[in-house]
């Protein structure tokens, strides 16, 4: 900040020096007819722009407005060189005489936030710069400086001017005037469009600048038209002098504008705070209040949910927040991210948006907590629904397995036994065969029932605990499994069941999808948690959102645990569940 202040003092000193140099140049001029009025206009307007510009630059270092005001001021003073009787200094001064207008146009179009927004605005600025620089050059080359219409007999003769270049001068200066008029029309259209977009408070802040700037460029346009069509000295002088009044007012209008922006910002914040305390703090009100204050009917509020690492709306639904700084204002409270205002149209005055966001931060924080709760509730409801659906699907599967398997075998068995019974007397041999078949069928039915029962719930898990149940499970697996069961004690039922099904489902997934040669199961207690991990050496790429793993995550979540699925660096997948041991349901609370 000290660097900026020193630089600004330097700039102010340089402007002062430039003005002081202009004094002898103007006063000793042989060809300048109105020395004192020119000097007064040069210094008054030039220093006003630099002075107010330095102030604006200091107050808003990141806003281009201060820079543009300083440049306008300097380039207003520099054309005083045209009063010099030294030909090259005279030529340089003449060349620079319209440049300040370029900066002024730019200034008008970036007020108040320092940014150009539309293609028209960019076109106007670029065209004006071309008109006041590139298009000024042919005039300098071809001007007959001793023509009273251009400068006068006492002015230094133009050493660059070729013979018979009157037509070229008229052609190029008319072209410059025409394009200049087009640019001014563009400027007026762009300003009207901006005006329409603004809310009442921005309009109030901008009005002085608009009237002063509009007047200057209206008169500039008249001057250009006069140059093209009338060419009368007295008219020119009247217009020029008339231009000085609004031009001199512009820097102060900017200052008033900046000040009013601040005042109106304070008013807006005040209104918002009153609104927030008066109305009930429901979310619709908050959005409406900020939307009204910013004049952005499409404003949306996005609330940050750290657990999700993303934003949600007030109903807890995920929302996208654009990266573009024009489209969103981040809201923080005590250094923590709370949310963001998502703007319907690019924000005109980011500082006001930030101030309003800061004023509403506390209300937003309440809303954020509420949204976080809703979001968690939504997830909880979804997982509850999935658990019930998974339960229903499991019952359907068991019913179908029973019906298609064991039940069919028993039906067949009943028929075979009756048939055997009917043949016992007449054909004992056939009856014997039928009985042998029936016995084999009965064995198959028994095996199927056993498998099915174990699938519903492994008895060994409830009888002997997790360690023996996992030993039995891994021994039956279809691929070699290394079991490292570090803890053989008993755990609450829901913890043992969750751990067991994590291993069972992971092993099923591995044998179905992973293309693995072997798997490793580790069970360990870490602090108050039971940690179960199943890893394989397969191809990896398991989808944590797939129904199998999703169901496992729900089951682990129901035991207050967390499930992680990761690809291992060397290939393969690790499924890891961290289950808080806590107390069993019966003992809990």
């Amino acid at each position: 900040m000290i660097g900026l202040r020193r630089a600004l003092i330097l700039i102010a000193t340089a402007a002062l020096a430039a003005g002081l140099i202009a004094v002898p140049v103007i006063l000793t001029s042989d060809h300048e007819p109105a020395k004192v009025p020119l000097l007064v206009a040069t210094l008054l307007i030039g220093w006003s722009f630099v002075g107010t510009g330095v102030y604006a630059w200091w107050r808003r270092p990141r806003n281009e407005i201060g820079v543009l005001m300083v440049l306008t001021g300097f380039f207003w003073i520099l054309p005083a060189l045209a009063a010099s009787d030294v030909v090259w200094v005279f030529a340089l001064g003449s060349f620079l005489s319209p440049v300040a207008l370029g900066f002024l146009v730019h200034l008008l179009l970036v007020f108040p936030d320092g940014r150009l927004r539309t293609r028209l605005e960019r076109w106007v600025v670029v065209t004006t710069y071309v008109v006041v620089t590139v298009m000024q050059l042919p005039g300098i080359v071809f001007a007959n400086t001793q023509d009273p219409d251009i400068c006068g007999p006492d002015c230094p003769a133009n050493p660059l001017r070729p013979e018979n270049s009157d037509f070229a001068f008229v052609f190029f200066s008319s072209l410059q005037a025409l394009v200049g008029i087009l640019a001014i029309i563009g400027l007026i259209v762009a300003l009207v469009r901006r005006w329409r977009r603004w809310n009442e408070s921005t309009r109030k802040a901008f009005a002085p600048v608009l009237w002063a700037g509009g007047a200057v460029f209206f008169l500039e346009g008249l001057l250009l038209a006069e140059n093209l069509f009338v060419r009368s000295d007295p008219v020119e002088v009247v217009i020029f002098v008339a231009t000085l009044i609004p031009l001199g007012a512009i820097p102060y209008a900017f200052l008033v504008g900046l000040l009013r922006t601040r005042i109106s910002r304070a008013e807006q914040v005040g209104e918002l705070v009153t609104t927030l305390t008066r109305r009930s703090e429901s979310r619709v009100d908050l959005r409406e209040a900020i939307s009204e204050a910013l004049g952005d009917p499409e404003l949306q509020i996005a609330l940050w949910v750290p657990d999700r690492g993303g934003y949600v709306d007030s109903a807890g639904r995920p929302v996208a927040v654009p990266d573009d700084g024009d489209r969103r204002t981040l809201v923080e409270h005590d250094g923590r991210r709370i949310g963001a205002l998502v703007h319907g149209t690019p924000v005109e005055d980011p500082e006001t948006a930030r101030t309003l966001a800061a004023a509403a931060a506390l209300n937003l924080e309440n809303q954020r907590l509420e949204a976080e709760l809703r979001s968690n509730l939504r997830e909880l409801r979804a997982s509850r629904r999935r658990l019930v659906e998974a339960g229903d699907a499991e019952r359907t599967r068991v019913e179908r397995n029973l019906h298609d398997g064991a039940q069919q075998r028993l039906v067949g068995l009943a028929l075979s036994l009756r048939l055997a019974g009917s043949k016992l007397d007449d054909d004992p041999e056939a009856a014997g065969e039928l009985l042998a078949e029936a016995s084999a069928e009965l064995e198959l039915a028994t095996t199927e029932l056993r498998e099915l029962a174990r699938g519903i719930h492994p008895a060994i898990l409830s009888d002997r605990g997790l360690g023996p149940a996992l030993e039995a499970l891994t021994a039956r697996a279809t691929l070699p499994v290394e079991l490292d069961s570090g803890s053989n004690g008993r755990f609450p039922g829901r913890v043992e069941a969750a751990a067991y099904y994590v291993v069972a489902e992971a092993l099923t997934n591995i044998s179905r999808h992973a293309g693995a040669d072997r798997a490793t199961v580790t069970v360990a207690t870490e602090g108050d948690d039971l940690v179960v991990a199943v890893s394989d050496d397969g191809k990896g790429g398991a989808d944590p959102e797939g129904s199998g793993l999703r169901g496992l995550a729900d089951r682990v979540g129901a035991a207050d645990g967390m499930l992680e699925v990761e690809d291992r660096p060397g290939g393969g997948t690790v499924v890891r569940a961290v289950l808080p041991i806590g107390q069993d349901e019966g003992q809990a609370e």
Partner: protein
């Protein structure tokens, strides 16, 4: 007495056992089908007297099979069967054009005669 039979059931094991039981009691099994649609064709094309139709079939259910067979010319009498209990189907059995229902485990010539008498 009706003595030529078509068996429509998707369980091959049951079809084989049913065939042995019924043949032992003097019936002639003229066709078998593992699904509803081919079952309807077999029942109507074989000129059989009786069709034993499982209610749960992979394509159309046994009630629909009974309806389609009943709509044909010289249609065989349909007897529905299932390894489930009759009460599991509510009033669907009564509403269908089938002559009746026999639990699979109780399938025999006598039970069929009782129903078709």
């Amino acid at each position: 007495m009706a003595n030529s039979i078509v068996i429509i059931d998707d369980n091959a094991g049951f079809r084989a056992t049913a065939r042995r039981v019924l043949e032992a009691e003097g019936y002639e099994v003229v066709a078998e089908a593992g699904a509803g649609c081919p079952g309807v064709s077999a029942a109507l094309g074989s000129g059989a007297d009786l069709a034993i139709v499982d209610i749960q079939l992979p394509d159309i259910d046994g009630f629909e099979v009974a309806r389609r067979i009943g709509a044909g010319d010289a249609a065989p009498v349909v007897v529905l069967t299932s390894s489930r209990d009759r009460s599991d189907f509510g009033s669907l059995v009564e509403l269908s054009p089938a002559a009746g229902f026999v639990p699979k485990a109780e399938l025999s010539g006598r039970s069929l005669e009782t129903l078709t008498a």
